[in-house]
Symmetry: C2
Subunit: 251 residues, 2 copies
DNA sequence: CCAACTTGTCTATTCGAATAGACAAGTACG
DNA sequence: CGTACTTGTCTATTCGAATAGACAAGTTGG
């Protein structure tokens, strides 16, 4: 070990923004490089010790930065081997039978759905039209964060008629899945009726939940699911991290 | 004092970016609000204690944020009175007799010029043309940060012929002023020959030196000064913080 | 199997961010 | 003058960022 520069100068200064932690600066620096497309998918990064030396920081600090990049879904680390760049996007098929947990499981990942919050509210004109209700009817609103292998994929706002699904929030929080929640209400065969896709930028709240930098692109997916009888069941407005997902529409 | 929320929740969460210090988040939040133009110039901000309560943080943390906004030139604090928004831009007249220290002094502020670095280098085609030298001739290059009342106003790169001003770096570092540096070489009556103004965005280095957020607009001012005899003296490429300066061209 | 290399985890220490409280110093107003 | 209010400064404490070092656990290649 040479370890000069015990405290000061090096490549650090060119990154160090006042009031921003070192590991965050390093993580952001790597994110830029990766998102620019400088690395191919699967490229092996240098060993942590080498990166630490190049930045003039401790190895633990680099580990913290890499952990951050892991939660952002930009790298994948394997013990004893190394850290690899991950630029492939998860394929997310959209069709009549669109179930997050099943899609993720089919892709060989671990699905997770966490309820961020829920409340009752009167239906807006748009929500009422989707669900076939009168404006102002009581509806349940759920905010759900979905992740695959602990990497956030999407945040979704879902509305259901309160008349039948008043406790949907509590049920979801326990069962952690929309499929199982509806099953709890006796709904088994439900289907996607329509899906509308647009794009935009993540606001501060969504960016935080999705562990994205602000102003990264997102895919906005609005949809309506119906019961087997064709009755409106739930409508959703989901925001997908466009850096991590590609939507495939079945036809 | 009510001081609930000893550690958690409040308006904090909506701001708190992971890896970014609290005071920085608050400062950036205020900067956004100010630059959007929500406050008129001179508007009095609420007392520190009140701001602290609104964000759910300690008063010291607010003070740190306000200190940051002060160095960015966005607020001005007066003891015993309060903190005031500062959106007025300093008027910077450009004419034949353009001397930073004189302009700033005339506006009632304290001028400061700090040398960031200096070196000799061969003249590029552009610099050579400006100074009337052959390409590759040895020139002295100075990087100067200028501030008024401790608020950074501009960073400037200045080139002089090395033949006569070889030690310009050391001299400037001692005298802290271009006017005095030239005076040291016996140059008293020099004048602006031409000025070219354009605009762009601050890169990471300039943003750091000017204490700006990255990607804030800057005014790029290229100019040539000549001696009393009309001989090319020095050429400069200055980058001014557009949020703090308005250039006035005399005609 | 063994040696070299890389990531994971542990302990200890230093330094600054953030909190908490108290008081000084300045201004404004009746 | 004196009270109320606001900013400035000080001390003390807690918690996490960053450093430092050592070793365990895993992979690779001879």
């Amino acid at each position: 070990m040479l370890t000069r520069t015990p405290r000061g100068s090096s490549n650090r200064d060119s990154l160090l923004a006042r009031g921003v932690m070192l590991w965050r600066c390093i993580a952001d620096d790597y994110e830029q490089t990766i998102l620019i497309g400088k690395y191919d998918n699967g490229t092996k990064l240098p060993p942590e010790s080498e990166i630490a030396a190049r930045y003039g920081v401790n190895r633990h600090t680099v580990r913290r930065a890499m952990a951050e990049l892991g939660t952002r879904g930009l790298v994948r680390t394997e013990r004893g081997i190394g850290t690899f760049v991950r630029t492939d996007k998860m394929d997310y098929p959209i069709g009549q039978r669109t179930r997050f947990s099943e899609i993720v499981a089919a892709a060989g990942h671990e699905a997770e759905g966490r309820l961020q919050g829920h409340r009752h509210e009167p239906a807006s004109a748009e929500i009422a039209a989707h669900l076939g209700l009168k404006v102002g009817t009581d509806v349940v609103r759920l905010e759900i964060l979905r992740a695959a292998d602990r990497v956030p994929i999407s945040v979704a706002t879902t509305w259901l008629p309160a008349a039948r699904y008043a406790d949907a929030g509590k049920v979801f929080r326990r069962l952690q899945s929309m499929t199982r929640t509806l099953d709890h209400y006796g709904i088994t065969g439900y289907a996607r009726k329509w899906t509308r896709i647009s794009a935009g930028f993540a606001d501060a709240v969504d960016a935080g939940r999705l562990r994205l930098s602000v102003q990264r692109p997102i895919l906005v997916v609005e949809s309506l699911d119906v019961t087997g009888d064709g009755e409106p069941l739930l409508t959703t407005r989901g925001r997908f991290a466009a850096d991590r997902v590609a939507l495939t529409v079945e036809s």
